[in-house]
């Protein structure tokens, strides 16, 4: 039982990072119809930016702030203007293909231009181990889970409780009606790209100490974040949280009780079951297609 609880908590910590990246997926999809298959690489790039700032002596909090600014400009504004805006007028599929290509280009660009090695990354939460009864919990797991949950819940609070957040929701629900009310739709869409970039930076900060900074670190993360978003419900930002936690916990338990070889297949298996049984996701809403 103690092992189970340890695996469960550790799975929640990993899953909360999937949730962070998955939340970005749902936000971009809802407001602009963008599916970003380079989402994993959007986490990988800030990891290397953080390392670069640290290497020139910038303290980690300042490095994180600078990375966020850089990410908003490059992964937010640049991605929107350079890829999403020109291609979305032709539908979602060109964006899917373009972001698949972008992910390969970014991965290989970092490998060829910087390093193919895994680089250690400082841990934010130390290496302590707490014992609660017979259950041992690491400070990394607790810290990661708490930080990711705070970020996801803060994002949701922003969307639900501020006028700007509700305007972003309005754009996601019905762009034409948002235009009719005078909501600045392009600005709201940019905000979602910016939030996605900041969430990616946060995910980088949380995941890199465990998985190390490596050019292909985003490959698996991006795929699992996408599965998490679909499992939870692609049209519901709370779904990304639930989907992320479900994937994180299930793959951790499967690795321990079934086989570590199957760990990466768990998210895919849940994804297939959800698509077949409840295509709108666990908490997503069914959408009727207009003919």
């Amino acid at each position: 039982m103690a092992d189970f609880l340890q695996l469960f908590i550790s799975g929640l910590a990993t899953g909360s990072i999937y949730a962070l990246a998955g939340l970005g997926f749902t936000l971009l999809w809802q407001t602009s119809g963008t599916i970003n298959f380079a989402q994993g690489e959007f986490v990988m790039l800030p990891t290397f930016a953080l390392l670069a700032f640290s290497a020139i002596g910038v303290p980690l909090p300042a490095a994180f702030a600078l990375t966020c600014v850089l990410a908003v400009v490059v992964l937010g504004w640049g991605f929107k203007r350079g890829i999403a805006d020109p291609l979305l007028r032709f539908g979602s599929m060109p964006v899917v293909v373009a972001t698949l290509g972008l992910s390969i280009a970014l991965r290989n660009g970092v490998r060829a231009g910087y390093s193919a090695e895994a680089h250690p990354f400082p841990s934010l939460f130390g290496d302590d181990v707490f014992r609660i009864g017979r259950v041992a919990v690491t400070s990394v797991d607790v810290g990661t889970l708490a930080a990711a949950l705070v970020l996801v819940l803060a994002t949701q609070a922003f969307l639900a409780r501020t006028v700007t957040g509700r305007a972003m929701q309005a754009v996601a629900q019905d762009t034409t009606s948002a235009v009719v009310l005078g909501i600045d739709v392009p600005r709201m869409i940019f905000y979602t790209f910016a939030i996605n970039a900041i969430l990616a930076c946060a995910a980088a900060l949380l995941i890199a100490p465990t998985y190390l900074a490596k050019f292909d670190m985003g490959e698996s993360l991006g795929t699992k974040a996408f599965f998490a978003a679909v499992i939870g419900g692609f049209n519901n930002s709370r779904g990304a949280l639930l989907g992320g936690l479900v994937v994180g916990v299930c793959e951790n338990l499967a690795a321990a009780y079934v086989s570590a070889s199957y760990k990466d297949a768990v998210a895919l298996a849940i994804f297939i079951v959800v698509i077949l049984v409840r295509p709108q996701g666990l908490v997503g809403q069914r959408v009727e297609r207009k003919v």
Binding site: V163, A167, Q173, S177, V180
Partner: protein, 254 residues
């Protein structure tokens, strides 16, 4: 030339002058010219595809004007964006169908209705709007999608009224509503016009709408074919032909 039975001394609020507009390669408004009097309810009628809804969308800047000019109180507003029309020119639009944000509450929908005003002004004006819609007032914290069709339409109109518009464009307000609710919506539009708002309405329920309207403008194939007083048109035996279209619809009513 289109026929006109209206008083030429009425001050003109909206003027479309030789406007061409449409969707992609499809031209819907075909050199349309018309004038809407200030402070009146003007009904746009015509057969399906005549360009009624397209005229409203073009007026509200949701479709580009390919040719011609649009004027509001004499000012050229051709090409103005919806946000500019709302904030600078006092034009509000209630499109056809359901246009609420269903997962947001009634109150949140109202707040978004006034997003161009700033939240302080919007929150000051919300009680005033709610006074007109008691059924909506009682469900402020319900999800907008949970309202009945009539309540949703009232909320949409209320949302537009937050801006205290000088001009209200409203497209098919009666669709999906019971006759009693339609009556309420029409009475509200009448009251708005009586208070000085210019109302331009597209409505399939022509006979009921003509009882509400001051003037009617008929379109056919994207052109203006008639402009008459609503009460005169209501008693015209040729009304059904005009509304449904047909071979003679493009010509003036004798």
């Amino acid at each position: 030339m289109p026929t006109s039975g209206t008083d030429k001394s009425e001050p003109i609020c909206i003027e479309l002058d030789d406007v061409v507009a449409g969707y992609g390669e499809l031209v819907i408004l075909n050199h349309l010219s018309l004038q809407v009097s200030r402070g009146k309810v003007t009904l746009l009628i015509g057969p399906n595809g005549a360009g009624k809804s397209t005229a409203l969308k073009t007026l509200f800047g949701m479709l580009p004007v390919r040719h011609g000019r649009i004027r509001l109180d004499g000012n050229d507003i051709t090409g103005a964006a919806p946000r500019d029309l709302l904030t600078r020119h006092g034009v509000a639009f209630v499109p056809q169908g359901r246009n609420l944000f269903g997962r947001l509450s009634v109150y949140e929908n109202l707040e978004l209705g006034g997003i161009t005003l700033g939240m302080k002004t919007t929150r000051e004006r919300i009680p005033e709007v709610l006074e007109r819609f008691p059924c909506v007032k009682n469900r402020l914290h319900s999800a907008a999608a949970s309202l009945s069709g009539g309540e949703q339409k009232q909320l949409e109109v209320g949302r537009a009224l937050l801006l205290r518009p000088k001009v209200l464009l409203i497209d098919e307000p009666s669709v999906g509503l019971s006759p009693l609710v339609v009556q309420d919506v029409f009475l509200l539009l009448r009251a708005l016009a009586d208070a000085g708002t210019t109302v331009l309405i597209v409505e399939q329920n022509v006979r009921s709408a003509l009882k509400l309207a001051d003037e009617a403008i008929a379109l056919a194939s994207g052109r203006h074919v008639l402009h008459r007083r609503a009460d005169e048109l209501l008693s015209d035996p040729d009304l059904d032909r005009l509304f449904l279209g047909g071979t003679r619809a493009a010509g003036p009513i004798p």
